[in-house]
Symmetry: C2
Subunit: 359 residues, 2 copies
């Protein structure tokens, strides 16, 4: 049975494209010359099969390769490996799309809450959710909690740690999380405080447990920093909503929509942060539209997840962002709320702007 | 104190280089405009400092940025994040080198065995170690164990799983490891059988425990598949020798010598597999020399690790590989031993060739 389908973009001469596609199908599975595979006398063929190959532009080819279930073993690390393990070391190839047998996907589960669950958690209906970040690293837990309170008072739906906040001495994880969670509680609204959980697997688990004990209901982690399988294990075991951060995800030669929209969603992200076009990062509008589409489309029976455009979005762009992404979106505005020295009033404007857009 | 030093290659106009370098120093730490950081009134500055900037070629600049200890938190995920988290999302930047405060490095420990430990484990002195791989995926545990026995009888020092071997039904992990370990035991020599351990953190731990129970003394894992922090935690807790596999590591826009030679070593790799020049992958001889140098040099008080050139090395290249890499190297030849249908005699030639080279 075909369990996994990958689309690769090859950069090569037309005369070489078919050979390259076949080499990839072999490299990602048997990793032996074809004649040696034949001699091995396998009961079932394990080599990937090139299902289609077409020219996508001058010197650019799209090859669709399907891989049999026999090479998978129920782990995300093996899915990553079959998709792009060795081939990532070949500079003429990018992974641009992937699809999965729904039965295999069901084993991972995808978003536990997804769009609907995040709406229930925040009570935000019929409009995008608002989100901002606590920063900079170096502030004390008390100062971060003051900021958290200020954003909660302004009615921001989600106040997350900057992903650079870990367990630094200036604001140790447990102190910060306790103080910030207490701040949103005292604010009395439904603001979610979302701590960032990093570290090795045991440390992530410890931080998630600390957060849960403080009453936190959502956490953020960066799948490419901690490892996608570790992210999945932490997310699925946490019982919390989970936001995926794209740190280190930009340089994988995997199309962002495949990595963030498919693999992060498969691994359980209820929302995925990504740098929207026109900010400090280089994603195009098309890429961002595809990320959003792949987080929210019908796919493998998994719940839809929320796109969370960010990365230098100015408050002034909110109407444009809403018209681009629609309602099932979390608008993450960080630095622009801090600019000018009055984050409280900027946050209120942000919240009003999004609420007005809903009517 | 400066805890972490990163060198980035920027591709931009000369007029923009200094600004870009400063933006990176800010992006990787405070992630706020400089004026907002100033207003935050931090007790200590947390922003990275551009220490040098020089032109490396037309439109190419090398920027050295140092980061203060205040932004780190003792985790590898935060080191990765500060080095290249958000900046990985900016396509004009590559991470090309890094250095670490030895005190910070000591906390991670690096290779537990390293070059000397691997020599003790295998009894191989004064010459490169020989290694090959069990493949293809799809063979039964018994067939893989037969291959393992054949290579052990030939005197190969290290027989490792292909990294595509996980816990597939054709050769379940526990069955395979038991059978292969028994095969090297019966062979009576000092061949190390090295199973590949993948999966989410708990599954990796389970597989390592199974391997240890079978008497296995070394495992292989792929840091970029499982996550570098998960690799480190598994490696440092295993009590076994650990070989790092480069799957998914080729497309990180991090120079291979920085990723494999520095970060994999920091995370505890006793040996690191990489595709040598002239095989199926695109690394240059210079890159491979730098990887080897950074695995073995004096650095942060960490033990040297063994370079493990691979990726389509033909048996006929052994003399050239030895003269290039010297003795403290593991020569990994997989497919070339299988070519022609008589792996036993090819493996014997491999072993003799390396032993003769030592005299």
């Amino acid at each position: 049975m075909d369990a996994l389908r990958a689309t690769y973009e090859l950069r090569c001469d037309a005369s070489a494209a078919e050979t390259r596609a076949r080499e990839i199908a072999l490299e990602q599975t048997a990793e032996l010359p074809r004649e040696a595979v034949a001699r091995a006398g396998l009961p079932r063929d394990v080599v990937g099969r090139v299902e289609s190959l077409r020219e996508a532009g001058p010197g650019r080819f799209l090859a669709e390769i399907v891989y049999p279930a026999e090479v998978l073993d129920g782990t995300l690390s093996q899915i990553l490996n079959v998709l792009f393990g060795n081939t990532s070391l070949q500079h003429d190839v990018a992974l641009v799309d992937l699809d999965l047998d729904p039965a295999a996907a069901a084993g991972f589960g995808g978003p536990r809450l997804g769009v609907e669950g995040l709406r229930e958690l925040t009570g935000a209906r019929g409009r995008p959710l608002t989100a901002t970040a606590l920063k900079p690293v170096g502030l004390s837990a008390e100062r971060l909690a003051e900021l958290c309170r200020l954003f909660a008072d302004a009615g921001v739906d989600i106040v997350k740690d900057d992903h650079g906040l870990g367990d630094q001495p200036a604001a140790p994880f447990a102190d910060r999380v306790r103080a910030c969670q207490e701040a949103v509680r005292q604010a009395g609204g439904r603001t979610l405080y979302v701590p960032h959980v990093g570290g090795a697997p045991s440390e992530m688990a410890r931080r998630i447990a600390v957060a849960r004990d403080c009453g936190v209901r959502a956490v953020m982690a960066a799948p490419m920093l901690c490892g996608l399988p570790a992210f999945h294990e932490a997310a699925s075991g946490s019982g919390l909503a989970v936001i995926a951060h794209p740190a280190l995800a930009g340089a994988a030669r995997i199309a962002p929509e495949a990595l963030l929209g498919r693999l992060f969603r498969l691994a359980g992200a209820d929302a995925a942060v990504f740098p929207h076009a026109g900010g400090r990062f280089g994603f195009t509008l098309d890429t961002c539209a595809r990320i959003a589409a792949r987080l929210r489309d019908r796919w493998c029976g998994l719940r839809p997840a929320m796109p969370m455009p960010a990365g230098g979005m100015a408050l002034e762009r909110v109407p444009e962002l809403i018209s681009f992404f629609g309602a099932d979106t979390i608008l993450l505005i960080g630095g622009s709320l801090y600019a000018g020295g009055d984050p409280a009033s900027r946050a209120k404007r942000f919240v009003e702007c999004v609420r007005n857009a809903a009517t």
